[in-house]
């Protein structure tokens, strides 16, 4: 089934000329077949403009988890349009809206072709943010609730339209783009000194995941970089798990807060900060910013830091377990979480959900298991829950906190030597010309992809970031179908998706 594809592995590059170029019809057939029947899922789907004249191509990057392979192929776009893939497979729907918005290339028969970011079109015309047609429920009793872009809390902007009958939401439509900073555009013709910092701030609560993926990608495109000491990758993996624990802790606390269970909300708010402080202990910044560059670690980490981290983890573990047990042992909390905001396994699979949301809906996937990073132990077990409700998403996070904790302890056991700071952390890496590479790891929300294509000068001709939120906003909308509108906050919190990671 994978015959027609170029096969890559995580962070290993290939000449861009090796990407198969197919006419649109067989390309479409092959890609859809791989996704619908072959167990693959769409990781990235974008347009590669021609370099010197010629036709634009549609590039599909598929994740084939069973084989631990990344499949790449391309189809030639003629007459600025092609038959939409969404009609056969909804997992493409957001990608195709993005393609249309970014390039004007028309996916024909796309059922709901609207902007996703309200970014200026290729011809420079800029649509007003949020101004578009919305799905509407008709009838005397129907009413519409519109929320945002500015919300009532300390949270990023987005616009939500609820179509309701009484208290029941029949349809939620989410329009984003308010955080659009033009990131993919900025990344073109890089790398430049800003590049790693742009990457880290794509979604600032996932900086370590983003830096990890970027690091993997750059190493694939730049084989001359001196090898890192083994412990660099291990410390990076440790920081990735700290990022996961901190965010899951914060979200579980916030979930408790949203159902007015204040003890867990208060304790988790504090404990989340303590985990961030462990990251800061290693690198000076609570979000792990500026620590990982193409050359390696910006600061040295002595081997003795392992013992310190171990004892701090031991200290926090009991406090966190205590705070979480309180919440999960309280029937009034469970009553709010159970059977609320259900996304079925079938819906999750067809929409192409990833990460926590996918695992809570019974889909077993985790990039640490499916696409391990070189030198880092594979994640053996992937927890998943069948029901797909708010409770399942909470339980998955609780399980992942425990698993990350164990993983950190295991990884700390592998630290044998001091990690020196990399020489020349400020230098911009030199990349091979005309290559393509894709890299992925599991951030705390889900899998985070970066795909880069270099030009004849080794500069980025295309740089694609696919944040897990890009797939999962549709899952939140689905979770609200038939749900009471008052359940929106806990549904939303159980996903806690990124606006900026989506908007770029």
């Amino acid at each position: 089934m994978n015959n027609g594809f170029l096969i890559l592995t995580n962070g290993v590059s290939a000449p861009v000329a090796d990407v198969p170029v197919l006419p649109m019809a067989p390309f479409r057939q092959m890609v859809l077949d791989a996704v619908l029947n072959g167990g693959a899922r769409v990781a990235a789907f974008f347009v590669l403009p021609p370099e010197n004249g010629g036709e634009s191509r549609l590039i599909a990057v598929l994740a084939a988890p069973q084989q631990h392979q990344i499949l790449v192929a391309s189809g030639v776009i003629e007459n600025n349009c092609y038959p939409a893939f969404t009609t056969e497979c909804p997992a493409f729907h957001w990608f195709e809206r993005e393609i249309y918005e970014q390039t004007g290339i028309l996916p024909q028969d796309h059922p709901w072709l609207k902007p996703i970011r309200f970014q200026p079109a290729a011809d420079g015309t800029a649509p007003a943010p949020g101004v578009t047609d919305y799905f509407q429920l008709q009838g005397d009793a129907a009413h519409e609730v519109a929320v945002g872009p500015v919300h009532a809390g300390v949270i990023e902007p987005g616009h939500f339209r609820f179509q309701c009958l009484g208290e029941t939401v029949h349809f939620l439509e989410i329009e984003l783009g308010y955080q659009h900073r033009g990131l993919e555009q900025l990344l073109l013709n890089g790398p430049v000194p800003q590049t790693p910092h742009w990457i880290e701030t794509a979604a600032g609560d996932s900086s370590i995941a983003a830096a990890t993926v970027y690091q993997t990608l750059i190493r694939g495109l730049s084989p001359d970089l001196p090898p890192e000491p083994e412990s660099a990758g291990i410390w990076r993996a440790i920081m990735l798990e700290l990022e996961r624990i901190a965010n899951h802790t914060g979200d579980l606390g916030a979930l408790a807060g949203d159902v007015a269970f204040l003890p867990t909300a208060s304790y988790c708010g504090r404990i989340r900060g303590d985990y961030l402080n462990l990251t800061a202990m290693l690198c000076g910044n609570r979000f792990g910013r500026s620590m990982w560059t193409a050359g390696g670690a910006a600061l040295p980490i002595p081997a003795s830091a392992a013992a310190v981290l171990r004892s701090k983890m031991d200290e926090l573990r009991g406090q966190l377990n205590n705070a979480l047990a309180l919440m999960f042992d309280t029937p009034s909390v469970l009553d709010r979480l159970e059977n609320t905001g259900v996304v079925t396994t079938a819906d999750a699979a067809s929409l192409g959900l990833v990460g926590v949301a996918a695992r809570a809906s019974g889909l077993k996937m985790d990039a640490r298991h499916d696409f391990p990073l070189p030198g880092i132990p594979v994640l053996e077990t992937v927890p998943h829950e069948p029901v797909g409700d708010v409770f399942a998403r909470a339980v998955i996070r609780r399980q992942e906190i425990a698993a990350s904790d164990r993983r950190i302890m295991d990884l700390l056991g592998l630290i044998r030597e001091d990690l020196p700071a990399a020489p020349s952390v400020w230098q911009v890496p030199v990349l091979q010309p005309d290559r393509i590479a894709a890299a992925v790891t599991e951030g705390w929300r889900g899998e985070l992809w970066q795909v880069a294509v270099t030009d004849a000068n080794g500069k980025f001709r295309r740089f694609k970031i696919v944040d897990p939120s890009f797939h999962n906003w549709a899952g939140l909308a689905m979770a609200l179908r038939g749900e009471e509108i008052s359940h929106f906050p806990i549904c939303n919190k159980s996903f806690n998706l990124s606006y900026c990671g989506h908007d770029l």
């Binding site: 970011r117 309200f118 970014q119 200026p120 943010p129 872009p149 500015v150 009532a152 809390g153 300390v154 990023e156 902007p157 783009g177 308010y178 955080q179 659009h180 900073r181 033009g182 555009q185 900025l186 000194p193 800003q194 790693p196 910092h197 742009w198 701030t201 794509a202 979604a203 600032g204 609560d205 900086s207 914060g250 003890p263 208060s266 304790y267 708010g269 504090r270 989340r272 900060g273 303590d274 402080n277 800061a280 202990m281 000076g284 609570r286 979000f287 910013r289 500026s290 910006a298 600061l299 406090q319 205590n322 705070a323 309180l326 042992d329 700071a421 952390v425 400020w426 990124s498 900026c500």
Partner: protein, 258 residues
Amino acid sequence: MLKVLQARFRQGFRTGKFPAVPPNLPEHFRGRPEITPDRCSDCRSRICLSACPANAVQMAENGVTIDLGRCLFCGKCAAACESGAIRFTGEYRLGAMKRDSLICRPGAMPEPEQAENPELRRLCGRSLKIRQVSVGGCAACELDFNVLNTLAWDMGRFGIQVAASPRHADCLLITGPVTENMLLALKKTYAAVPRPAFVIACGSCAVSGGIYAGSPVVHNGVEDILPVDLYVPGCPPHPAVLLEALLYLMGRKRGPIA
């Protein structure tokens, strides 16, 4: 209920003692940089200028200047500098009411800015209601502002609270470079704040556009759009930096030396 009480005892009292004592900053914390004068004079490489991702380093007469309003505190300039002219210190009292106070010049570490906003002090010295607006922020500034609300920092004890509606707010705390797509919403939010309305630019993006300055779909920070009363540098500002800056804005004396 019993479990809740048991947990309460177990979790203990966790609110930090700041500002009575200096904040607990990490060992590698990068605060205000110190620039040794004249070390730059023999340097031809100017490597710090090209190393800086934020365009924060500029040549000056007896060395370089660093604009904290742009700086990410990544430390790359210090790592790149061959003559050791740049050193990041633990000085966390970075918030400033004047934009110029964010420019670090060669020479001994200055005392933190001492300025006053008498109107804000009179109206909000004991109670400051903040409406946060994210206009392209990456969520880090937002999260570390939220942290001040947790019991670790408990900004409520100083009368600082988050307001859900701009109509209930004294000031806006703005994060992000101001995206084109949020410009209208930002202006409308500002218009909804009762006068006098104060503005805090939090993080390098909000102060100057940060690393997003120059993107065709963002504005370069808040400054050209709204009058700014307080600048808080950082990417993101450490919670201690932000809280110290807020208290300073309210008219308290600056925090203790770290």
